[in-house]
C-alpha cells in the first residue's frame, strides 16, 4: 500500500511476498503486523533519487532549497497515528490485547519513543547533524525520555497480581525492545552510512575521471579563446560549445543521438552550431522514440537548421519539438532575411528534396512560411505510428501548404 513491503524486501533481498506474509502473520500477535507496517511506513526513509553532479553539489552547498515537510506530511503523520491508536484500542476492546495494567504504560512509552524517533526522520537528520546542541532537540529528547521513564515507573508501581517471573520477563522484554527502538535508528543509519560511503567512493572516482576530462576541455577552450580573441564569431562559437559540453555534464543531458527525437535534434543543433557558428536553441515538450518516421523528421529538421544557418544571416535559431502522442511536430525558426516561398521550386532543390520530400514519404506534412525580411519558419510534422499498426499510406496527393505571411 505505502510501498513498505517492497522497500523492506529490497533491503533484505527477499521476495516481496514473504514480507507481505510476515506482516499478515504478524497481525495475529496483538496486531503487531499492522502497527509495524504503519510505523515503517512513517519512518522508512524515502528513496533518494540520484541527482546529476551539478545539482547534487548545488544542494550540498546549500545553493538550492530542498523540500520542507509540508502540511501534507504533518497530516499524514497524524492520520497514521490515529489509525494506529484506533487499531490498538480495537484489539484492547476485543479482549485479546495486552493486560490492562500493561497497556497504559506501554502506550505512554510508545508515544515517548515516537517523539524520539521523529528526530531521526531523514530530513531532520541533516539539521540534527548541524545543530546537535539545539535547544529544541534537547527538549524533545528529554520529553521522550521522561515519557519512557514515567511509563517504566508506572509499570513498576502497578506490579501486582501476576506471577513475578512473567512480570520480570515482560519487563526485560519491554526494556530491551525500548532500547532497540532508541538505538535502532542509529544502527540502521550507521549501516546505511557505510554502504553510502562505499557508493560515494566509487562515484567520486568516476567524477574525478570526468572532471579531469572536463578540465582538459575547458582549458583547451580557454587557450583557443585567447588565441582567437580578435575574432568575435570564433570566440562566441567556442564559448557556446564549451557551455553546451559543461551543461550536458552538469545537468545530465548526456543522451546519445540515436536515443530519441530530442537527443537527435540536440545533436544536430550542436553540429550546426559548430559548423556555422550560429547558436541553436532546442526546446522540447515530450519526446518520441526514433522510429523511421521520426528519424526522417529529425533529418529534415537538421536540413532546415542548416538552411537557416547558411542563408538566414541570423545570430540565433529556435527549434521547438512537441509531441502529443498522435503527431510529432518540429518547428525551426529564424528571424533572418527570409525568402520568397514561390522561388523555392526553382533554386531551392535542397528544400524540396531533403526537407519536404523526406517528410512526405513518411506521411507527414511540411509548411514553410517565409517572406523577405520577415524570417523563416519551417514546420514539420509526422503522425506517430502506434504499436504494430501498419505504416501509414504513402503520401497521397497532399501538396505542401506554402503560405506567405503578409
Amino acid at each position: 500500500m505505502g510501498g513498505v513491503a517492497t522497500g523492506v524486501a529490497e533491503h533484505f533481498g527477499i521476495p516481496v511476498l514473504y514480507v507481505r506474509l510476515a506482516f499478515i502473520v504478524g497481525t495475529w500477535f496483538h496486531g503487531m503486523g499492522v502497527i509495524a507496517y504503519l510505523l515503517l511506513w512513517r519512518f522508512l526513509p524515502l528513496r533518494q533519487p540520484d541527482l546529476s553532479p551539478g545539482l547534487e553539489s548545488a544542494t550540498r552547498r546549500g545553493l538550492r532549497t530542498s523540500g520542507r515537510p509540508g502540511a501534507f506530511e504533518v497530516f499524514q503523520t497524524v492520520a497514521l497515528g490515529a489509525v494506529g491508536v484506533g487499531v490498538m484500542f480495537m484489539i484492547q476492546a476485543s479482549g485479546r490485547g495486552i493486560a490492562g495494567s500493561l497497556f497504559a504504560p506501554l502506550l505512554i512509552g510508545v508515544i515517548g519513543l515516537a517523539v524520539i524517533w521523529r528526530q531521526f526522520d531523514d530530513a531532520a537528520w541533516g539539521r540534527w547533524m548541524r545543530q546537535t546542541k539545539g535547544f529544541g532537540f534537547a527538549m524533545r529528547v528529554a520529553a521522550g525520555a521522561v515519557l519512557v521513564a514515567s511509563a517504566g515507573i508506572y509499570f513498576l508501581s502497578q506490579e501486582r497480581g501476576w506471577s513475578a517471573i512473567v512480570d520480570l520477563a515482560s519487563a526485560v522484554a519491554v526494556a530491551g525492545l525500548g532500547l532497540l527502538l532508541i538505538l535502532g535508528p542509529w544502527i540502521t543509519k550507521l549501516l546505511g552510512d557505510l554502504s553510502e560511503e562505499r557508493r560515494e567512493r566509487v562515484r567520486s572516482q568516476e567524477r574525478a575521471d570526468v572532471a579531469a576530462h572536463l578540465h582538459d576541455s575547458v582549458l583547451q577552450t580557454l587557450a583557443l579563446l585567447q588565441k582567437n580573441a580578435g575574432d568575435s564569431a570564433v570566440v562566441a562559437t567556442l564559448a557556446r560549445r564549451q557551455e553546451r559540453e559543461l551543461r550536458a555534464w552538469l545537468y545530465g543531458n548526456d543522451e546519445k543521438p540515436g536515443d530519441s527525437l530530442v537527443a537527435a535534434l540536440r545533436a544536430s543543433a550542436a553540429d550546426v552550431e559548430d559548423a556555422h557558428r550560429v547558436p541553436v536553441e532546442v526546446i522540447a515538450v515530450g519526446d518520441a522514440a526514433l522510429d523511421p518516421d521520426v528519424a526522417a523528421l529529425a533529418k529534415a529538421a537538421r536540413e532546415a537548421m542548416i538552411n537557416a544557418a547558411k542563408h538566414a544571416q541570423v545570430d540565433r535559431i529556435d527549434v521547438y519539438a512537441e509531441t502529443d502522442g498522435r503527431t510529432v511536430e518540429v518547428f525551426v525558426r529564424d528571424r533572418g532575411v527570409g525568402f520568397d516561398t514561390d522561388s523555392i521550386a526553382e533554386d531551392r532543390m535542397g528544400v524540396r528534396g531533403s526537407i519536404i520530400g523526406r517528410v512526405e514519404r513518411h506521411g507527414g506534412t511540411v509548411t514553410i512560411r517565409s517572406s523577405p525580411g520577415e524570417g523563416t519558419e519551417v514546420a514539420l510534422s509526422v503522425p506517430v505510428r502506434t504499436g504494430d499498426q501498419a505504416p501509414p499510406e504513402p503520401a497521397t496527393e497532399r501538396v505542401p501548404t506554402e503560405e506567405v505571411s503578409p
Partner: protein, 213 residues
C-alpha cells in the same frame, strides 16, 4: 516614467559587474547582494522595484529569498536569472512568486525589456520556461473532470505558450494570432497565475517527480 530601481542578487561578482555594465543607466541599480541573507537585508532596506535573482545561491538559493520577502514586500517583483536549466528549479522559483525566468545569456536590451515588463506586473517567459510550462500542463484531461479553471490552460493560452516556445517575441505572437500585445500579456500573466496557484494533480505529480514543493 521614473527610472526603475533594480537590485542584482547573484553570487558571482563577475556576473553582477557584467549586468551592471549592460543595464545601468536606463535603470537605476540600487543594490547588489551575493547570498540569501545579505539579499534579504539590502532588499528590505532599499525596496527596489525589480530584483534580478539568481536561482542557485549560498543560503538556500533564490527560492529562499522570495520566501522570506514576498509577504513583507509584495510590491517588489522578482525576475529569475539562471544558467541552470533544471526544470524543477525553474518551476520552483516561479511557484514561489517570481514573475519570470530568463537565462543568463540574454542580451542587454532584452534584459531591460524583461525588467520593464516585470515592473509593470506582467510576466516574462523565455522559450525554455514556456516549454517547461507546456510540459507541466501536458496530458489531456476531460473537461468534465476539471473542477477548477485554474488547473488547465485554455486553448488560447496553450497557443501563446507554444509560440513563445517556438521563439516568437510577444509582438510576433500578437501578430500571428491577430491579437494585441496587451492581450498576449494578459494570457501570459494568466498562465503565470495558474502555474503559481494550480494544485492540479498532474502538476503536483510532475513537481514531485522532480522533487519540488
Amino acid at each position: 516614467m521614473t527610472t526603475l530601481r533594480v537590485a542584482i542578487v547573484d553570487d558571482h561578482a563577475m556576473f553582477r559587474t557584467g549586468v551592471r555594465a549592460e543595464i545601468d543607466g536606463p535603470v537605476d541599480i540600487v543594490a547588489e547582494a551575493e547570498d540569501v541573507d545579505s539579499a534579504v537585508k539590502v532588499i528590505a532596506e532599499t525596496t527596489p522595484d525589480v530584483v534580478l535573482l539568481d536561482v542557485h545561491m549560498p543560503g538556500g538559493g533564490g527560492l529562499e529569498v522570495i520566501r522570506r520577502l514576498h509577504l513583507r514586500h509584495p510590491d517588489t517583483k522578482f525576475l529569475a536569472l539562471s544558467v541552470s536549466d533544471a526544470a524543477e528549479d525553474v518551476i520552483g522559483i516561479i511557484r514561489a512568486g517570481a514573475r519570470g525566468y530568463v537565462t543568463k545569456n540574454i542580451s542587454g536590451p532584452e534584459l531591460l525589456d524583461a525588467i520593464n515588463r516585470v515592473a509593470q506586473g506582467d510576466a516574462v517567459f523565455s522559450p525554455r520556461l514556456a516549454g517547461f510550462v507546456l510540459d507541466a500542463f501536458a496530458g489531456t484531461i476531460e473537461v468534465a473532470q476539471v473542477d477548477e479553471e485554474i488547473d488547465r490552460l485554455t486553448e488560447r493560452e496553450r497557443e501563446v505558450m507554444r509560440l513563445i516556445a517556438r521563439g516568437y517575441a510577444y509582438k510576433e505572437v500578437a501578430k500571428e494570432l491577430f491579437i494585441s500585445i496587451k492581450t498576449v500579456e494578459t494570457h501570459v500573466s494568466s498562465v503565470l497565475r495558474k502555474l503559481q496557484l494550480s494544485s492540479r494533480h498532474e502538476l503536483t505529480r510532475w513537481a514531485n517527480d522532480r522533487r519540488l514543493i
